[in-house]
């Protein structure tokens, strides 16, 4: 998993840094200009988000710079924090305690070990097949039948979203794409960039032009204007970045479209869970954004689809 620092990577990193500098400047100017209380709060939140973005970009950049293993560790930790937030919100009972211990300290590290050694045949079925069957056995052996199906389903769901799906991001490094050997780091960068920038652009379009809500009961911030504007812009950016990927411009546009659609869906689904549990955010670890889960919801849904599309069509 050697990741080369080639010219294209430098362009990608440079582009992201330039974007951050520009957003920080815009945030600073906005902070000087706003007067009424409501906009002040919005701008404060915006600036907190931008500061958090600097942090996240730095961490992601550091992980990429250490080569493949750094990315595996970073996403492993991300999974850990997200799962922690998810299970905290999910009512489990005393009978689940030992199963949960297995989930956090055995299954999660094992999944990422399999990613690190690129064992596709096992990492792609470990959680959906083996854990799916073995974990309920452990819970049943604990002898607590109350709401058994519900509890088991919730733990499995948390594992699928927070561990299995997230692990597909560093799994991108294991793809064997003809003519693209040693460049998979850029593919991962491209994926994370499109998924996240689509979120940001949907937020920006929604805040500036958003009028018509898509699903007000689920997520009051998601509007048709934000969705269309964000998806269109992110797809254009994706198409424009084709030179960093194994795709042609049209293919790259299609891939970006798939990422943004799945990402939007992920945000919607994870919001529905939050509303059901009566909370606004999954946690408070990332200032301005909420919890880790709030930041990676789109990533979770888009990563497996992007991985398998690429694997099916390009390897």
């Amino acid at each position: 998993m050697n990741l080369k620092l080639d010219k294209q990577t430098i362009w990608l990193v440079g582009g992201v840094l330039a974007l951050l500098v520009v957003s920080s400047l815009i945030g600073w100017v906005l902070a000087l200009r706003v007067t009424n209380e409501k906009s002040k709060a919005t701008v404060q939140n915006l600036n907190a988000r931008i500061r958090a973005w600097w942090m996240m970009v730095a961490v992601f950049g550091l992980a990429m710079a250490t080569g493949g293993i750094g990315s595996v560790v970073l996403f492993g930790l991300t999974s850990f924090l997200a799962l922690r937030e998810f299970i905290t919100l999910t009512p489990t009972r005393l009978g689940d305690h030992r199963s949960l211990f297995w989930v956090f300290f055995v299954i999660l590290p094992l999944q990422y070990c399999l990613i690190a050694v690129k064992w596709y045949g096992l990492f792609s079925i470990l959680i959906p097949v083996y854990v799916f069957l073995l974990l309920p056995i452990r819970s049943a052996a604990a002898g607590d039948c109350e709401k058994f199906l519900e509890r088991t389903a919730k733990i499995q769901w948390g594992l699928m979203i927070c561990v299995y799906c997230v692990s597909y991001v560093p799994a991108l490094l294991s793809l064997d794409i003809p003519g693209y050997a040693g460049q998979n780091g850029k593919l991962m960068f491209y994926f994370v960039l499109i998924a996240q920038i689509s979120d940001v652009l949907q937020y920006v379009w929604g805040k500036t032009l958003g009028r018509h809500k898509i699903a007000p009961a689920v997520s009051p911030n998601k509007t048709w204007e934000g969705f269309v504007g964000g998806v269109a812009c992110a797809t254009l950016i994706g198409a424009g970045l084709w030179w960093a990927t194994p795709f042609t411009p049209w293919q790259s546009a299609g891939m970006s479209l798939a990422i943004t659609f799945m990402g939007f869906g992920g945000g919607l689904v994870m919001s529905a869970i939050k509303r059901d549990r009566g909370v606004k955010d999954y946690g408070n670890l990332i200032e301005g954004h909420g919890g880790v889960m709030d930041r990676i919801d789109s990533l979770c849904f888009a990563a497996p689809v992007f991985f398998h599309l690429t694997r099916f069509f390009f390897t």
Partner: protein, 200 residues
């Protein structure tokens, strides 16, 4: 050194989200009373207090549990400065109330769990009378209700391996014994004050 490490570990394991809802951290004399479901409870409350407050605050804990092995003894005596009380067979000479009053002195605060022992259900058990007697003997001290959530899922009674969920601590509005208030009335009001911190 060990103290810093312990505080950091307690915060990390419990993922404690600390909310000061009804009062701010203060070095004035207080009795923090909380629900009790996990062995981590006393440690986490103690660790979540700001250092100057923490240094003056002593958890009240069951002697039979904390003197079992040298590690627990060291932890209780040298680091937490716990007030170890007899909960099984209180006698005139071995009176928990006297121990707690002595520990309060003129500058310390206490952390107590008036339910008596760790509970396995999510409902609060009735509070023991000790809280009332403390309030009666020390009307100058503030009684701060504390609600601990989720720590019982992190390390439930009877388990020894923690699961890293996110716990939360809420500190409520201090209460005091009202003039003419009886034992039952005060204990019920104290229990309600802890309960009221849920989802507020």
């Amino acid at each position: 050194m060990i103290k810093t490490l312990l505080v950091a570990t307690a915060k990390l394991v419990s993922g404690a989200n600390v909310r000061w809802v009804g009062c701010a951290p203060d070095v004035r004399q207080r009795v923090y009373f909380a629900n009790h479901a996990s062995n981590l409870d006393a440690l986490v409350i103690w660790a979540s207090l700001p250092p100057p407050v923490r240094d003056l605050t002593r958890p009240v804990a069951a002697r039979d549990y904390w003197i079992k092995d040298p590690l627990r003894r060291h932890l209780a005596n040298k680091i937490l400065h716990a007030v170890l009380i007899e909960r099984k067979k209180p006698t005139v000479r071995d009176n928990p109330l006297a121990d707690m009053l002595a520990a309060l002195g003129d500058r310390h605060s206490l952390i107590i769990f008036p339910e008596g022992g760790r509970q396995t259900s999510t409902e609060l058990a009735p509070f023991k009378a000790g809280l009332f007697h403390l309030a009666k003997d020390r009307p100058d001290v503030e009684f701060v209700p504390v609600l601990i959530e989720n720590l019982n899922r992190i390390l439930p009674k009877g388990e020894f391996l923690p699961v890293p969920l996110l716990g939360s601590l809420s500190f409520g509005t201090p209460i005091k014994l009202e003039a003419g208030e009886g034992k039952t009335g005060f204990l019920e009001r104290a229990q309600a004050a802890v309960k009221a911190l849920q989802r507020s």
